[in-house]
């Protein structure tokens, strides 16, 4: 079977499709996040007794941190598809991804600060991981600012796509800022990521909550892209003929 992907690149076909799959992502996000946190809070009391309870901050921190970097890669992928194929919808997807990425980056920094206060005794330090994550937040904000600063949508789409593409160099820097091959060479306060030697029950809570955050991202990005489509195509007959528009 041959699927014509370009058919779904038309906002008029994608808009109703997105509307249909949003509830699926909403429910899976709710179930996974509630389930993951339930596991993390109620199935780990003997592991996290007394002084170790602040570990629970990580259930939100790890998922947010992964999404903050992953969504930037997604944003750049859409921007790149837009630049290569000149499809309007891909630019709209890139634009819809940025605010959610920025929110997860902010949450990473926020929860990281509270984690830092408990485990290292400080809310903030100019450690490589924290500094690069802060720059990532500025990149998201810069992308959104550039997008909204140019009135002509074709120009703003292209200019901001280029900015996003250049900013991609930051992602490996964030990743290797704590996972560098020789630990003696990076003087980081931030712990190395250690998925393998973490306690299985805590790892389950991390993973399930993180997948929940991913589903949440699908949901809100699709909601936002539908709003962007309504905005940009408001003069077209298909938008004006939609059932949800009260005439």
């Amino acid at each position: 079977m041959k699927i014509n992907w370009f058919k779904y690149a038309a906002p008029s076909t994608f808009y109703p499709l997105a509307g249909k799959i949003i509830p699926f992502f909403a429910w899976s996000a709710l179930l996974l996040i509630v389930g993951g946190l339930y596991w993390g809070f109620f199935q780990t009391p003997e592991l996290l007794s007394d002084q170790k309870q602040y570990y629970r901050i990580l259930y939100v921190h790890v998922g947010s941190a992964w999404m903050s970097m992953w969504l930037y890669i997604v944003l750049v992928a859409w921007a790149l598809i837009g630049l290569v194929f000149n499809t309007r919808l891909s630019y709209m997807m890139a634009m819809a991804t940025a605010p959610t990425g920025a929110i997860f980056t902010f949450l990473t920094l926020w929860t990281g600060a509270f984690w830092g206060k408990t485990s290292w005794g400080t809310y903030w330090d100019w450690d490589p991981r924290m500094t690069t994550e802060l720059i990532l937040l500025f990149l998201y904000v810069g992308y959104m600012a550039l997008q909204s600063a140019i009135d002509d949508t074709r120009r703003s789409d292209k200019a901001s796509a280029l900015l996003a593409l250049v900013g991609l160099v930051l992602i490996p820097v964030i990743f290797w800022s704590v996972n560098c091959p020789d630990p003696n060479q990076c003087a980081a306060l931030h712990q190395q990521s250690s998925m393998s030697n973490i306690e299985p029950n805590i790892r389950i809570a991390w993973l399930v909550t993180a997948v929940g955050f991913w589903m949440f991202s699908f949901m809100v990005i699709l909601m936002r892209v539908r709003n962007i489509i309504l905005d940009r195509d408001q003069h077209t007959s298909w938008v004006q003929g939609l059932d949800e528009v009260r005439k």
Binding site: S49, Q53, P99, V220, M223, R226, D231, V245, R246
Partner: protein
């Protein structure tokens, strides 16, 4: 484990609940903002239709 014990998080309650609370606040307000944005977009489209009809 009592309710008070649960919320105190072994003395780290402030840090844990500030993190959880901000995550909840951010995610819920994102949904709320998008929903109200959708409402105003739909109103905007209706306005455009009226304007184009009167022309």
């Amino acid at each position: 484990m009592s309710v008070a014990e649960f919320f105190s998080m072994g003395g780290f309650g402030y840090y844990v609940w500030m993190s959880m609370g901000m995550a909840l606040l951010m995610m819920l307000s994102e949904i709320f903002v998008l929903k109200s944005q959708r409402k105003s977009m739909l109103k905007q489209v209706a306005r455009v239709i009226r304007m184009e009809k009167n022309r």
